[in-house]
């Protein structure tokens, strides 16, 4: 298994833990990641709000780089994933857009390069049997609220991944690790991520209701697959009302959970970088070593 790895900007900044855990897990599972040479920003939430051509061109230029490697592109960030998928969709369904993008990036791109989120790769390429066999530790029944946010599974016509309203892929990974994925209704709610700097109050309000619901549903932690979601839920928790006396809820990347179960040291997974302490998670994993 070999992929062109597109880390995305957040992997180098706010979400280093995502990058660290993803690469550590990949190494352990024998997934070879070749970082794209000369990759640039995907445009994230900013570009598509301002300029449709820019929003299609930025991911396209990166996917052209991937095309040279001949490998599928592996993405860890849900926003990058969404933008790349959207660009593929736009370029392949509109000849006009394809032409414009070709002019903008200086090379024709047909929108055909496969873009895979790491969760997709874990489930489909690595596969459940191998994953289960590779586990050294268990989550020992840790109650995990799997949180997908807006970008990983929507719009379904674009991502074609999982169910747009009730996705289960993260839940399946949690269950495979011996955790209990709680059934909760906010799996695909918006955390307000795109407004993190402009309307922090909205982010706090939206994230607050998500965290409350996860806690009410009995979750010990929330597992995420998007650096924006992670930042919103983790970073803003200190500003939130409610849940007093219950302590903060750990917000961990699915790759961090998986890394722990593969027996990788917490520090290698960037668990020390979280704002809300992941102790509850660490305790669960170490409670009954195998």
């Amino acid at each position: 298994m070999k992929y062109a790895y597109y880390p995305g900007c957040s992997s180098h900044s706010t979400a280093r833990d995502m990058h660290e855990s993803a690469t550590a897990v990949a190494r352990r599972l024998g997934i070879e990641l070749v970082e794209l040479d000369g990759w640039s920003c995907c445009g994230a939430t900013a570009a598509h709000q301002t300029d449709r051509l820019l929003a299609a061109s930025l991911p396209s230029s990166n996917l052209l780089l991937a095309q040279r490697t001949g490998l599928d592109t592996l993405v860890t960030c849900a926003a990058c994933y969404s933008r790349m998928k959207a660009a593929n969709h736009e370029v392949s369904s509109s000849p006009d857009m394809r032409k414009k993008v070709a002019e903008a990036v200086g090379s024709d791109y047909d929108g055909s390069m496969p873009v895979r989120h790491i969760v997709e790769v874990l489930l489909e390429d690595v596969g459940m049997p191998k994953l289960k066999k590779s586990l050294a530790r268990s989550l020992n029944g840790l109650k995990v609220a799997a949180y997908y946010g807006c970008l990983l599974v929507r719009p379904h016509d674009v991502t074609g991944f999982d169910d747009a309203e009730n996705p289960v892929s993260l839940d399946r990974l949690v269950e495979a690790m011996g955790g209990e994925s709680v059934d909760w209704p906010c799996k695909v709610d918006c955390c307000g991520g795109g407004l993190n700097l402009t309307r922090t109050d909205e982010v706090v309000r939206l994230s607050n209701s998500i965290i409350d619901m996860a806690r009410d549903s009995g979750a010990d932690c929330i597992a995420v697959a998007c650096p924006m979601c992670q930042a919103s839920l983790d970073l803003r928790q200190k500003d939130m009302k409610g849940g007093a006396g219950k302590g903060r809820l750990p917000i961990v990347y699915i790759t961090q959970l998986l890394g722990l179960c593969l027996g990788i040291a917490p520090a290698e997974l960037g668990l020390n970088r979280l704002m809300a302490s992941p102790d509850a998670v660490l305790q669960a994993v170490s409670s009954k070593g195998s």
């Binding site: 747009a164 009730n166 209704p185 009410d216």
Partner: protein, 1495 residues
């Protein structure tokens, strides 16, 4: 040359057994055609059979449809083909050959008596699709309680994954279900059909079945192997304790062909057992001293105790197998000799020789090999010498067995060295776990480089194994020769695989391929004729179950070989194919449950012994584990039903077949499919237990549904008190592909809210909607009633999503309120009002027939010929044509039937047969012998009235010789029972205490006739409508009352007398009143069948209101169509046209009407057998809104005229249309149905002519139902502005300073004012003025609005209660042109049922005059509304039977008591009253001595 004119076939195929198909079938059969009613499911009844109540009538849907089902089932000319579908249609209209595919029911329809014993014994519970997966049903069951035909059927779903994965294809699901029933012996016998080694495999099988178990996707696979072990052990226990004995020893039949089996391993044993069962003389040659092969010599006793093996070998021996032990081929006997002496040979010698390692030092002393070591340990030869540290090379099951055996034989220390990593080891994971638990060290990832030692072994040098498998996954170890290590060893045992014994290869002389015998992969034939081989010696070392499978398959081949049959085709295993993923059971909402774990012998007790280490289940664990099976294949084929069925009706091997039918035409009435609610994921259907579809809610409301009518939360069973309905789920939604309106859902939800409120007083109902579409007859009044209720809230909003509040099961809805604010509200239940879509099967059928579909996948039709498909001779009716309600569906069904009748008129009566009743039994000399049948009516009666008590009381009454109670007395089986009881007890009177004679009396009377009794010897006691329904709160008193009612009926029944009717001729002429589109269509439909028709039109011109209709939403021009009809009427030789004519009087009766017609000043009279009322309606006069005062205020009709003429300029103009200007208010309570579409039509016309015109449509609800929704959307897209207003605040039009319209819309915060160039009023439809006068003449009713009232709003939409008179078109209610056309044809179809007969029977229930008492006062003649009495030659009164409707007025009025109404004679009533007062006297005066019962 073929004949020039081929005679047409007088038969019609109707696809679809819902209410449409049923109605079409009854009409056609009633008018002389043979009908094949083809239905895909197991019973007819369609969607109606799922419903609880109907709107707005409040009837129980089942109660009104059941009589129709029975009528179909009993009609000799309707042949019902269930589980069938039309697969091909060849030929021409009039002469088709239809191919019908018939799916297996697995129950013989002719043999099944519906006794339900099969259902009682069936262990398989599967989701009940009839109840929309709420609750379960058995795999063998009746489709639903009132199912017609009343026959059971089995649900099958191919083969379960476990069975497919098992190399022996054991029916795993079957034996698990038998275990669930504690039928352990049966379970083991089922296993042994495919595998004689049940107990062995219960211990040592590598269970590939568990790996594919569907349950494993939910939590853990079912513990299949351990269940097999449990059942086998229980069987052995029973044998050991003598409760059952071992089977008799069998011997081969004389002259049996001989088969030799070489090797008594699992393959050989299986082949031997199977062949012995098939009657061959089988001899097994075994080199060792006992049977079992690797089972005995390879698998250690702690895994497989030898007594278990001995037991199963003994059972095989008793099947007639001879064993020769110690007989080695090539040494003790020559292979050639065996071939010569036998007719066939099976070779199953296994692989007995351990592979060598091939490294330095392998010759040292202290080195042993796996299988040889195990064989010694198992007692063949000297026990192996084990001391010090033993190192085992290998990672497979043999290596594990060796290691654990070595430990038990006394080794100080055991270490395994395996090339593979832990997760790659070929040994079973549970075995590896046990190995580790016993203290054996497992070293992974190393391979031997050389063995160290000098004479004796001292250790092994190992090299690191980098990878075991190559890219393609083949075994191809790669080593790192530099990474070395050494382990110390006193003994080394090598267990890296086995190979064939070379000596045997030499002796047998068979072809070898890759070290094994070469065989055909399907037949297991070797290179030598008549020699077959299987097991490890063919496959290389594999599993027990693989060897068993090979033995089984080889045995099949040998049998075929010896019978000189084809070895390949039609083999058992060919049919065992995996199921596609989507057919596996759904795991959504399934509760997880832990897999049962067996006990284990503690590690400390395993030293120095070979006790079985793995325990088994106790019964509780086994039963719990068996419950975890998801029944992937539905029916488990455990065959319990076969044992239970006394009729031998069950055939699990029934196959699909095709029948060919000659028919003249086809009617497609396949109905619809509900929108799959899970597609709207935001509402959480399938995810949250308390989110239901509207169909599920119907089943919840239904007394015969899974919740018995209780409205509860599915999450916790608590009463639901807050319910939300979400409308338009899968309707009016382009996103999900259904851009149309489903027409009925608004009313369905309204009804559900009302009914649920009845079930649960105080229930709060909230209906979230876009527009309320209550456009049907009397619907708006019904809706207003609901909306006026304090507890039913209509909220105009589309909720964005439903979420479940954690831990409560409560559902939270988010929506925008009227003023645009976000709201949240919590509910106990959310009902998704799912729309209709064309079914997949229906679309496939259409495609096969070459019938064109429309953009939505429904059957494409034209509004002006709404029943004709694109293929001539193939008609369509019901929801497959367009979503619609029951009345329109029934109407279309009759209408489609009329088209078939017209096409096939010449072949009428050519293929039908008449019912033949047995000769009536003469009871004149008999004492009353009464049978009483008390009905439960499901829960309708039995939940209130103690029916058993009523039946017991009946049994005590004088004259009653038999009394019983039944679930549904009207069900086919119950009717058969009545029939049987009449014969058995020689009954001469029958009393049924049940629902109502209104719907059910005819059915019971028919039963009496079929049993040879006069039908009038029947009496019905109404204990439902008049007892249980009205006294539901007082069950005890209700029971008393029911008893009283029954007793009175019995009293009357004693005096019932047989009656016979008379027959009279039918005037086969029709008369149609009204010459609009409806009237013309009806007249043409009758004339087309060859009937003479009088068409009476009061004006001087045909066409009616349609003359003012210039275009429709779908058609540019409608006048050519109207002109076409007028021309056809004029051209028809069968139509007598009476223009400028009026009906002045109607006399006579069905079949023989006389109608007075006034024309050109002359009164004349015509005769006819049936009358169709098609008098139309009138556009309502505009009132208010400055109409008549300001010329700019016009009506839609005016506007249409202007648009048609193209005389107005619309550029830049403001046009305001006001909807409901005169409808849905005090003046007209009803919705005029057509105005919204008319407004949309005219608005689109204006926009087409000039897009710059501004059009505002002020409305209350836009009611563009069905496919008309498309044009509403088009209008919005074209820029037409729709503004809502409330009934309480209608728009105001003012004329000063220009025309202005002002209104307050609930959707806008500020008042709105529009400057208008034109105001257009949608004024609605008024009933025709002359309706009341005509109604008086016809003696039929009109409603408060002046429209005619049909016999039943839902099921008899085009006929009056008075027989022989029908209605259609606007005379019935406002409706669109296409609906008028359908209704007109439907009325013609119903009339044809009368006109097609030359004679009719008239009622026996008529008045008669005792002439000796008659005083000739003629009171009777004065009071009779039907003119039945006449004065005869003796100047006495006499009643004309054909006119008498049996109302009894004359009998009541006759001053001389000379008149008695047959069947209602005074003495009968007197006795009923005596019976009533007798009981009352007993109660009130119980202390007093009994008085005589004379009044």
């Amino acid at each position: 040359m073929s004949e020039d004119i081929k005679k047409k076939t007088g038969a019609v195929l109707v696809q679809g057994g819902g209410i449409a198909g049923i109605q079409a079938a009854l009409d056609l059969a009633g008018s002389g055609f043979k009908v094949y009613l083809v239905e895909r499911s197991a019973a007819i009844g369609g969607m109606m059979s799922h419903l609880d109540k109907t709107f707005p009538t409040g009837d129980c849907a089942t109660c009104i449809v059941s009589p129709k089902l029975v009528e179909c089932a009993r009609n000799l000319n309707v042949e019902i083909l269930t589980l069938s579908e039309l697969s091909d249609l060849q030929g021409e209209p009039g002469n088709f050959t239809a191919t019908v595919r018939r799916y297996p029911r697995y129950v013989d329809e002719d043999k099944c008596t519906a006794c339900a014993q099969c259902t009682d014994v069936c262990p398989v519970e599967v989701p009940n699709h009839f109840d929309r997966e709420m609750g379960t049903r058995k795999a063998i069951a009746k489709h639903y309680a009132q199912a017609t035909p009343n026959i059971f059927g089995i649900l099958k779903n191919g083969h379960s994954p476990c069975k497919v994965a098992c190399p022996a294809n054991i029916n795993v699901q079957g034996y698990i279900q038998l275990i669930k029933k504690k039928e352990y012996v049966k379970a083991v016998n089922l296993i042994r059909e495919r595998n004689p080694l049940s107990a062995v495999c219960g211990r040592a099988c590598n269970h590939p079945c568990e790996a594919v178990c569907t349950r494993g996707k939910l939590d853990d696979p079912v513990a299949i192997r351990l269940l097999k072990k449990y059942a086998s052990d229980r069987e052995m226990e029973l044998v050991e304790s003598g409760q059952i004995s071992l089977p008799e020893e069998k011997t081969p039949p004389p002259g049996a062909k001989k088969v030799a089996v070489i090797g008594a391993g699992p393959a050989g044993l299986t082949a031997a057992a199977d062949l012995a069962d098939r009657g061959y003389a089988v001899t097994v040659y075994e080199a060792s001293s006992a049977a079992g092969g690797m089972l005995r010599w390879g698998i250690p006793g702690y895994r497989l105790p030898k007594n278990i093996l001995d037991y199963e070998v003994e059972l095989i021996r008793r099947r007639g197998v001879a064993f020769k032990y110690g007989c080695r081929i090539g040494k003790d006997v020559e292979f050639g000799r065996i071939r010569q002496d036998s007719d066939a040979v099976f070779v199953g010698v296994g692989v007995q020789v351990s592979r060598r390692l091939g490294v330095e030092g392998e010759e040292l002393s202290g080195i042993g090999y796996g299988v040889e070591f195990l064989r010694q340990a198992a007692g063949a030869g000297n026990p192996p010498d084990v001391k010090g540290k033993v190192v085992v090379i290998g990672g497979g099951n043999v290596a594990v067995d060796v290691a654990r055996t070595a430990l038990r034989l006394g080794a100080d220390e055991v270490e395994m060295v395996s090339l593979e990593q832990r997760d790659e080891m070929p040994a079973l994971p549970e075995e590896v776990a046990d190995t580790l638990a016993e203290g054996i060290k497992v070293t992974n990832g190393w391979g031997p480089r050389r063995i160290l030692g000098d004479g004796d072994v001292t250790g092994i040098e190992l090299k690191r194994c980098a990878s075991v498998f190559d890219q393609e996954g083949r075994f191809c170890p790669a080593y790192d020769e530099k990474d070395l290590t050494t382990v110390q060893a006193d003994r080394v045992i090598i267990a890296i695989g086995q190979s064939l014994d070379r000596n045997f290869i030499g002796a047998a002389g068979l072809d070898i391929e890759r070290g094994c015998f070469k065989v055909d992969p399907v037949t297991f034939e070797t290179s030598a004729a008549g020699v077959f081989a299987g097991g490890d010696s063919v496959s290389g070392p594999a599993s027990i179950i693989q060897a068993v499978g090979a033995g089984k398959k080889a045995a099949e081949s040998i049998d075929r070989y010896l019978k000189s049959q084809d070895l390949r085709s039609g083999r058992f295993e060919d049919g065992v194919k995996p199921l596609p993923e989507e057919l596996l059971p759904s795991l959504t909402g399934k509760q997880k449950s832990a897999r049962a774990m067996p006990g284990h012998l503690p590690v400390e007790k395993r030293n120095n012994n070979f006790l079985e280490t793995e325990g088994g289940f106790d019964e509780q664990a086994a039963l719990a584990e068996s419950e975890r099976c998801l029944n992937c294949a539905l029916c488990s084929e455990c065959r319990e039903c076969v044992d239970a069925c006394e009729q031998n009706a069950i055939d699990h091997y029934m196959g699909q077949r095709e029948v060919r039918l000659e028919v003249g035409s086809v009617i497609l009435a396949p109905g619809f499919e509900e929108f799959p609610a899970e597609k709207k994921g935001e509402f959480g259907f399938g995810r949250y237990a308390n989110v239901l579809t509207s169909v599920q809610f119907e089943r919840m409301l239904s007394a015969s549904g899974p919740f018995e009518g209780h409205v509860v939360r599915r999450s916790d069973g608590k009463e639901a008190r807050r319910i939300a309905w979400i409308q338009c789920v899968g309707s009016r939604d382009e996103k999900c592909g259904n851009g149309y309106c489903s027409s009925v859902c608004c009313m369905v939800s309204t009804k559900q809210a009302l009914v649920a409120s009845d079930h649960t007083p105080g229930l709060e109902a909230s209906i979230f909607y876009m527009d309320i579409r209550a456009h049907g007859k009397d619907f708006d009044q019904y809706y207003e009633r609901a909306a006026g209720s304090e507890n039913i809230h209509y909220i105009r909003s589309m909720p964005s999503r439903v979420l479940q509040v954690p831990g409560t099961g409560d559902l939270r809805l988010q929506y925008y309120g009227d003023s645009g604010e976000m709201r949240e509200q919590e509910f106990d239940l959310v009902v998704l009002s799912v729309g209709m879509q064309a079914g997949v099967a229906a679309r496939e059928t259409a495609a096969r027939l070459g019938v064109r579909l429309d953009e939505y996948g429904f059957c494409a039709t034209d509004r002006l010929s709404p029943l004709e498909t694109s293929r001539p001779g193939v008609y369509v009716a019901g929801a497959f044509q367009e979503p619609k309600d029951i009345p329109e569906t029934v109407t279309q069904a009759s209408a489609a039937a009329s088209l078939s009748m017209e096409l096939l008129a010449e072949a009428r009566n050519s293929l039908v047969s008449k019912p033949v009743y047995p000769e009536e039994h003469d009871i004149s000399d008999e004492e009353p012998r009464i049978g009483v049948f008390v009905c439960h009516c499901g829960k309708n009666i039995a939940s209130v009235v103690d029916v058993e008590k009523v039946a017991q009381a009946a049994a005590q009454l004088p004259g009653v010789v038999f009394a019983t109670h039944t679930m549904y007395t009207c069900a086919d089986s119950s009717l058969n029972n009545i029939h049987d009881m009449i014969h058995k007890h020689r009954l001469n009177r029958v009393v049924v205490a049940s629902c109502t004679p209104r719907t059910h009396e005819p059915i019971f009377r028919e039963t009496l006739r079929e049993a040879g009794l006069n039908p009038w010897l029947f009496e019905l006691a109404n204990i439902r409508d008049q007892c249980s329904w009205v006294h539901s709160a007082q069950p005890e008193q209700a029971t008393d009352k029911a008893t009283q009612l029954m007793k009175m009926s019995v009293a009357r029944a004693r005096l019932l007398a047989p009656l016979t009717g008379t027959s009279f001729s039918v005037d086969q002429t029709g008369l149609v009143i009204g010459g609009g589109v409806s009237g013309m269509t009806a007249a043409l439909a009758l004339a087309g069948q060859g009937f003479k028709v009088h068409l009476v039109e009061k004006s001087g011109r045909l066409g009616g209101n349609a003359l003012d209709l210039n275009y429709t939403l779908e058609h540019e021009e409608t006048q050519p169509f109207v002109a076409g009809l007028v021309r056809q009427v004029g051209d028809s030789p069968n139509i007598v046209l009476h223009l400028k004519a009026e009906v002045t009087g109607v006399s006579g009766f069905i079949g023989q009407f006389k109608v007075g017609i006034f024309k050109d000043g002359i009164e004349s009279q015509v005769s006819c057998g049936a009358i169709i009322v098609a008098t139309g309606a009138e556009p309502a006069a505009a009132r208010g809104y400055l109409h008549g005062k300001d010329g700019r205020v016009i009506t839609q009709l005016d506007l249409e005229r202007q648009l048609h003429r193209g005389e107005s300029v619309w550029a830049g103009k403001n046009v305001v249309m006001i909807q409901c200007a005169g409808s849905r208010n005090e003046e007209r309570a009803y919705c005029s149905r057509i105005c919204c579409s008319t407004a949309v039509k005219n608005a689109l016309r204006i926009k087409r002519d000039d897009p710059s015109a501004n059009i505002y449509v002020l409305y209350r609800d836009i009611r563009t139902y069905g496919f008309r929704e498309k044009y509403y959307k088009q209008a919005r897209e074209a820029g037409v502005i729709f503004i809502r207003y409330d009934r309480a605040a209608p728009p105001e039009v003012t004329g000063e300073n220009g025309l202005r319209v002002s209104l307050k819309s609930p959707d806008f915060p500020e008042p709105i004012e529009i400057e208008a160039d034109n105001v257009v009023l949608s004024t609605g439809v008024d009933a025709a003025e002359g309706n009341r006068r005509l109604a008086d003449m016809l003696k039929v009713p009109v409603n408060a609005d002046g429209f005619f009232v049909e016999a039943h709003l839902k099921l008899r939409p085009v006929e009056f209660a008075t027989e022989g008179i029908y209605l259609c078109g606007l005379a019935h209610s406002p409706k669109h042109l296409d609906e008028n056309i359908s209704q007109a044809r439907a009325a013609a179809s119903r009339a044809s049922v009368v006109l097609s007969k030359s004679y009719l029977e008239v009622g026996a229930q008529v008045s008669r005059v005792d002439q000796s008492k008659c005083i000739s006062c003629m009171t009777c003649a004065k009071v009779c509304p039907y003119g039945a009495p006449m004065v005869n030659a003796d100047r006495k009164a006499e009643i004309i039977a054909a006119k008498c409707m049996g109302c009894g007025i004359c009998a009541a009025e006759c001053p001389a008591c000379a008149i008695q109404l047959n069947h209602f004679i005074s003495r009968q009533f007197k006795d009923m009253l005596d019976e009533l007062f007798k009981d009352m006297k007993e109660e009130t005066t119980s202390a007093e001595p009994e008085k005589s019962g004379v009044l």
